[in-house]
Point group: C2
Chain length 323, copies 2
């Protein structure tokens, strides 16, 4: 199992193995550790976390993230636990942070990391909402920090939203994209630091409409989920909304589709907006307790193992070549 | 190939084969014909359409919908083309309409069908927006008409939105659900005849947000699609939004998740609503031409064969048992 001592020497061979320092080892940290170890078979991963039981915690929980058949057998030899932040980052090519989602923490930790890290290290934050331009204010060199926001859990889901600040250099962006592509992931650059980035904005938009329809009594939670898994889910695994509607329009594409069903789309948008207002679909309003209760009654405790197994199968299916 | 003469005798054996009359043979009609013939191996399908080249049209196009390995070899013997509406419906157990999306057509055709059909036939409309309660106004018996709205193409996608009117009897709903379940499909009852039913309301909500993000220059069409296919698509193939977020909340489920990230969700909803207003994301406004142009440039003509092949693979993957 993992050594408690971080590697003290930087690798210097021409086919250099990368060293990734993970700051924070919650579920995202563990999932990223598994991802780097599995998909980057020469990488060294160093974990720093202030929890006193770190060794026991990692030995207990990390193996369950490593079920993939491609798991490199040598992962134990490539994982170290760092006793201090300084030790964690000093030889790292990449420092990846998934600490508390608090601006004060992020703002404080980067200058500390910067002080001890190499001058050419890349800095990634896994934040789901605090832009790099707010995290970097007290850093000397803001050019190497950017957000790399995963879609949970990152050891299974391939998306990584890459959100640079205005100070992030193109070189830092390019190195980030190159790293993730070499691991077979799907990094996508978000061109503006907008609230929620992109994936959550899309998913929350559908979630709001879904909650509105349940609140109105049009469908229950279970039936709404069945509708999604038997329609949009599979469709959007193969083609995103623009490509899907473009195909739906036949030879004339999306433009023809808009000509044909544009009136219906506009009617739906207007009905949806009216209903969301009427049903008060805002966080903390009445609908929320009802929807949460119905969801709990329907699903109880969920086995994420089954979800993860099936998700891997779906992702494989998408990759299959057409016969 | 298909006979031009409809079957003149109703089947009377105890294991009765069903006769389905399809009114209208556009892409939805052909797709439904393929679905009934493939998944219901004793069904007889009768097609009525006013196009003069019906025989040539069906012989040319229907085979491409029948590529599934489960295709019953006998489908040619079970398909007939009817010379008149009366001939098409007179022995039918089920009359399924996918004619023009115009209220006047639907309102007019049902009394005509009712006149010639059996007294216990089920009547299904494939409309994507005209509720049964508006279609049935001139019918004598409104109890047997309901909407069965597919997610295209129905010979591949499993969802069917079953939308009864207030006059539709529970017996008609039950027979409808039983039929589709026996074909391995996913019929879901929509409890209120709301604008757009459910699947389109959900999909259009996400499409509006997607269009807004592209209009703002946050991502381009291609990157937005890549985000969806590498995150929500696969996730929502396995679990709908409520189940997915319930799992995301860990032991506390959806309620715990809302406690944890509710503020972020509300921030995103408010930012989205503001941006949709600012960018004027309504049908026919400026964003539309830009988004259509970008989509056309990115995708050109789309090979739906590849989409359909991969969709079948994804749907199979979802069914796979956990090892």
């Amino acid at each position: 199992m993992a050594s408690l001592t971080p590697r003290r020497e930087a690798s210097s061979s021409s086919e250099k193995s990368q060293t990734i320092a993970l700051i924070g080892s919650g579920t995202i940290g563990l999932s990223f550790a598994a991802l780097h170890l599995e998909k980057n078979p020469t990488a060294t991963v160093t974990i720093f976390d202030t929890r006193p039981d770190l060794y026991e915690y990692i030995t207990t929980h990390l193996p369950s993230y490593l079920l993939d058949a491609h798991t490199s057998a040598s992962w134990q030899d490539r994982l170290t636990l760092a006793p201090t932040l300084q030790k964690a980052v000093e030889y790292a090519d990449i420092v990846q942070e998934q600490g508390p989602e608090k601006l004060a923490f992020k703002k404080g930790v980067w200058p500390e990391i910067e002080k001890h890290a190499r001058g050419d290290a890349l800095f990634w934050s896994s934040t789901s909402g605090i832009p790099a331009s707010e995290q970097n204010v007290d850093m000397k060199d803001k050019s190497r920090l950017l957000v790399v926001h995963p879609y949970n859990p990152p050891h299974i889901m391939t998306l990584l939203e890459v959100v640079p600040s205005a100070q992030t250099t193109q070189a830092s962006i390019n190195k980030t994209l190159k790293y993730w592509r070499s691991l077979g992931r799907t990094p996508v650059v978000i061109k503006k630091e907008c609230t929620g980035f992109v994936a959550n904005r899309l998913a929350f938009a559908l979630f709001r409409e879904a909650s509105s329809l349940v609140a109105q009594g049009v469908v229950d939670v279970k039936d709404l989920d069945a509708i999604v898994t038997s329609s949009m889910g599979p469709r959007w695994s193969i083609a995103g909304p623009f490509k899907a509607y473009h195909a739906g329009g036949g030879e004339g594409g999306l433009e023809a589709l808009m000509d044909k069903i544009g009136d219906t789309i506009q009617d739906v948008w207007e009905a949806s907006a009216k209903d969301i207002e009427k049903e008060k679909i805002n966080v903390g309003e009445e609908w929320q307790a009802m929807v949460c209760k119905q969801t709990e009654e329907e699903y109880g405790n969920i086995d994420t193992k089954e979800r993860d197994f099936k998700t891997r199968k779906v992702l494989q299916a998408v990759q299959d070549k057409v016969k």
